[in-house]
């Protein structure tokens, strides 16, 4: 199924919370969904007979613009061999997204990475702690405004 068809199907099921479809881009077509609707939409995408998105290929955190963070979901259906990209944005002041780790278990570590490096908080995640950086690290280094610390545990960090 093409992204446009999937989009129309979602539009019919969810009356609100789904932005416009962006096509003719150098990347896969995508659309934005509301952060609080992500979990419900993902459940639908997985369970609907004609969609069957049984695989979360990738979940990425992005420092989207001056005021917002984004989370990008790359979905794939092994059963029906089609794919979908959805995005959601949250304000940097309160970056909370409902987790999808109860929809696809693979999301658990992806969400921990997005939390670790970008600082997105995933509400309902069973074990949201740093996955790559040491536990006592301060800040989220892939934010554009991140400042490299002078010292970490007594070790000089800058060259």
């Amino acid at each position: 199924m093409e992204t446009a068809e999937i989009y129309e199907k979602l539009k019919k099921t969810f009356t609100e919370g789904i932005g416009e479809l962006k096509t003719n881009l150098p990347v896969n077509p995508f659309f934005f969904v509301d952060a609080d609707k992500v979990n419900a939409i993902c459940c639908f995408l997985r369970d609907e007979e004609s969609l069957q998105f049984d695989n979360l290929s990738c979940l990425s955190g992005v420092d989207y613009d001056k005021d917002n963070l984004a989370v990008v979901y790359h979905l794939y259906s092994y059963t029906l061999n089609h794919q979908l990209v959805i995005k959601t944005t949250v304000p940097k002041t309160n970056p909370v997204v409902r987790t999808v780790s109860d929809v696809w278990v693979a999301a658990e570590w992806h969400e921990r990475e997005a939390f670790d490096l970008i600082g997105v908080n995933f509400e309902g995640h069973p074990d949201l702690r740093r996955i790559l950086l040491p536990e006592d690290w301060e800040g989220h280094p892939l934010r554009k405004d991140y400042k490299v610390p002078d010292f970490y545990n007594g070790m000089k960090v800058p060259y």
Binding site: L133, P134, P141, Y146, V148, Y152, N153, M155, K156, V157, P158, Y159
Partner: protein, 169 residues
């Protein structure tokens, strides 16, 4: 005789050929540099070259260099790759667990000075010499096994010219 050549020109040999005399330092150094056991760990792509050097084609075993699973058995530590800040404290601990006399080889650009992460690597220690003392720096990204072996031979040279009596005094 290979062994006698390796020892020292100053050794004396008796007519019967069964007794040799040399200094304790020379004998100790010769045995130390002929069995440099290394800590069995690798960090990044340099570790692949280190493994290649250990395998049959380059055969580090002919220099008496074998990896040991405990730092308490080891004489040298080969920092083979990128040292992240998270790893740095572990390396320091391994180093502290090694018995004296011990030596450190920094292998490749990352361990030498941060390598390609020198500017934007918020997570990389810019040179392992910021946490432990380094005896030999091996340049390369990653260094070929030949370069690693040259570094090890340089270390052998260093050990050959040391005096344990002076170190421990």
């Amino acid at each position: 005789m290979g062994l006698l050549n390796k020892l020292d020109a100053r050794i004396e040999q008796f007519e019967s050929g069964n007794i040799i005399i040399t200094s304790a330092d020379k004998l100790m150094n010769w045995s130390r540099l002929s069995s440099m056991w290394q800590v069995f760990f690798g960090l990044a792509c340099c570790a692949i070259e280190m493994m290649a050097a250990s395998a049959s084609h380059y055969d580090l075993d002919r220099f008496g260099i074998i990896p040991r699973p405990s730092p308490r058995h080891c004489d040298i530590i080969l920092i083979s790759g990128t040292v992240t800040l998270k790893m740095a404290s572990r390396i320091k601990r391994l180093w502290d667990q090694m018995p004296e006399p011990k030596y450190c080889l920094s292998m490749g650009s990352c361990a030498n000075s941060g390598g390609p992460y020198w500017e934007h690597g918020y997570h990389v220690l810019k040179g392992v010499d910021r946490v432990i003392p380094v005896d030999v720096y091996i340049p390369g990204c990653p260094p070929r096994p030949e370069a690693l072996i040259e570094g090890l031979l340089k270390l052998q040279e260093k050990i050959r010219n040391q005096s344990l009596a002076k170190i421990t005094a």
